[in-house]
């Protein structure tokens, strides 16, 4: 078993009054054990839906087709109760928005303690009613302290104050660190960080992402992020999504230094801040209900060919990676 996670042909639809919104249209993705996978793509490309689908939290979205094999088991058909045992211990999610992800009426210590209690399977009525902060020197306290030590919060006084704080008393960066700690305390096999840094400033972003990469240790990690630098330093493979599909997938070094798909090229270019402004990919959002036939990117593609508007490109293996573009059909680039 080399692959921890294997997603094949995943279709996720959201039924609306104007038709099904096809948020994911045949996503293929594999994640090896102890791998760090980065996921990039613009807003609305289906990243978050994919991440939520991996935990079966995509409701009201429906997994219409495809399979998600986690640890050799297809989780698309599992019951809610079976999923509950996979969430947290199997796959843990670091949420996107740190300002709402912590419960305002409990201290940080109580919420971290709750998480540890969950790992020990303590879900009895008594534990539910009695929300207790781990006492000084208790095993749970020491465990949380070890983790935060690794985050360079070794100062005992500072740490105790952190545990006694309510979420609103902390800065955004601190809250995000608490959330990362919370996910890692469960010792999950796979950690999904869905844009863990969107609500933070740029300086804190890189710091948090690097912290995440460091803390994850041997845990398998999926990071959704737009920080090319951070992805470069943490991830060994990258998937680029567009229009509900993975359009390019390969080794980080290969994808970032010599992108194959025209979309990836534009995406990377748009992130380079240059004098005279950066490049933007404009044309409004895709209509996710009535997808145009052919490649979803062809209206914007600088290298568009007649075939692009007719046939949706299949995924082609190109050396180390996979790319879904007509340019590479036949295994070679056929443009000038």
């Amino acid at each position: 078993m080399k692959n921890l996670l294997c997603v094949t042909g995943l279709h996720v639809n959201f039924e609306t009054s104007t038709g099904a919104v096809r948020a994911n249209r045949g996503v293929n993705l594999t994640v090896e054990k102890q791998e760090r996978l980065g996921v990039m793509g613009e807003s609305g490309c289906g990243k978050t839906v994919l991440m939520l689908s991996l935990m079966r939290l995509q409701q009201p979205g429906v997994i219409a087709k495809g399979s998600i094999i986690f640890n050799g088991r297809d989780i698309t058909g599992l019951s809610e109760n079976q999923m509950r045992h996979i969430r947290g211990r199997g796959i843990a999610l670091i949420p996107q928005n740190h300002s709402t992800a912590l419960n305002p009426v409990y201290t940080v210590g109580q919420q971290l303690g709750e998480t540890i209690g969950r790992r020990h399977g303590r879900t009895g009525l008594w534990q539910i009613i009695r929300t207790r902060q781990p006492g000084y020197g208790s095993p749970a306290y020491n465990e949380i302290k070890d983790l935060f030590n690794r985050m360079n919060f070794g100062d005992e006084r500072f740490f105790k104050r952190l545990l006694d704080s309510y979420p609103h008393e902390l800065s955004g960066g601190m809250r995000q660190r608490v959330l990362i700690g919370m996910a890692l305390l469960l010792e999950p096999q796979l950690v999904i960080a869905d844009e863990p840094t969107t609500a933070l400033d740029r300086a804190t972003r890189l710091e948090i992402l690097e912290l995440l990469g460091m803390l994850a240790g041997k845990t398998t990690l999926i990071v959704v992020s737009h920080e090319v630098d951070a992805i470069k330093s943490i991830c060994n493979r990258v998937a680029v999504m567009y229009g509900g599909r993975v359009v390019e997938f390969g080794k980080t070094s290969a994808v970032l230094s010599s992108p194959k798909h025209p979309y990836t090229r534009l995406l990377l270019k748009s992130q380079q801040f240059k004098r005279g402004g950066s490049i933007s990919i404009t044309a409004g959002a895709l209509d996710m209900v009535t997808f145009p036939s052919g490649c979803p990117f062809y209206p914007l593609c600088p290298q568009v060919m007649p075939v692009c508007s007719q046939v949706e490109p299949a995924e082609v293996a190109t050396g180390e990676g996979v790319v879904a573009c007509h340019l590479y059909h036949g295994g070679k680039e056929c443009w000038k």
Binding site: R87, A92, L93, N97, T100, V105, E114, I128
Partner: protein, 279 residues
């Protein structure tokens, strides 16, 4: 400690709480405060005097002592009824709001029916049917008042269940029961507390109405039943204001105190209301 701070910081809550606390203490220490045994027969229809501060009633019972003891029944029936209504209302509202679906439809359909039927005639009907008695009255009032609580709690739970921390708790493997009791209910507590105070006020008012109509427990003295006897045994006709005025005032005072507390809670939650009050 937090509760104490809230009471101190808000003059509305403080005034209401002190009023209610005084009434509760009087009821609690009634045997020590009442100058006479309220069930002992003295001379009937005495006007106020040093010995009988508020005179005596038609059978010669000391009205002031009656008043002190009647607070026990009025307040405890109110509290018990409000607790019953809160327990049922919070359970139903949380379940309906959190689980949605068919359960929501059934529970909310029940509250709709209960809200449409006029409360007082229904209570009169039921209390006549099951007979008077301390627990019967509290139960009937509780059963009438829970739908309002359920509605309020449900709407709060509906917004709480979509919150970020509920989603993140789910993503870490928490089940429905855990999320409901640990993350949804504690956040709905302020609104439950405010609504509880209002429910208590309604319960006391309904209890007084039932007793005034003579449907209350005949063996127990409550402010409502005192009014009942003052009305039916000639207190009003003889203009014995010391008989009928004090129980009415005490009912009014307790409702007033409770409404002040509720207003204080709302004012804490809704700053617009505060500005309105200051104007």
């Amino acid at each position: 400690m937090n509760l104490l701070r809230a009471v101190k910081s808000n003059s509305l809550i403080a005034t209401g709480a002190v009023t209610l606390a005084v009434l509760l203490l009087v009821a609690l220490f009634a045997p020590f405060l009442a100058p006479h045994d309220p069930w002992h027969y003295y001379q009937a229809f005495l006007p106020p005097s040093i010995d009988h501060l508020l005179g005596t009633n038609d059978v010669g019972q000391d009205i002031f002592s009656e008043l002190v003891f009647a607070g026990r029944v009025s307040l405890s029936v109110g509290f018990l009824a409000a607790l019953i209504a809160t327990f049922i209302g919070v359970s139903a509202g949380t379940l309906a709001g959190f689980r949605r679906g068919i359960l929501d439809n059934i529970l909310m359909g029940m509250t709709d029916v209960a809200l449409v039927v006029p409360a007082l005639p229904l209570i009169i009907l039921i209390s006549v049917y099951i007979g008077p008695g301390f627990f019967n009255i509290a139960l009937v009032i509780g059963l009438i008042l829970w739908p309002v609580m359920a509605r309020v709690v449900r709407s709060r739970v509906l917004s709480l269940r979509e919150s970020g921390y509920v989603e993140s708790a789910r993503a870490l493997g928490a089940g429905n029961w855990w999320i409901m009791t640990r993350h949804v209910l504690p956040n709905a507590l302020p609104i439950i507390a405010a609504k509880f105070v209002l429910t208590l006020a309604s319960a006391m008012l309904i209890e007084a109405s039932i007793s005034f109509l003579g449907l209350g427990d005949p063996s127990a003295k409550s402010w409502g039943s005192m009014l009942h006897y003052a009305f039916s045994r000639g207190g009003f006709i003889r203009e014995m204001w010391w008989w009928y005025l004090p129980p009415g005032l005490l009912i009014g005072l307790s409702i007033f105190g409770l409404n002040l507390i509720n207003l204080g809670f709302e004012d804490k939650g809704d700053p617009r209301l505060k500005r309105m009050l200051e104007r």
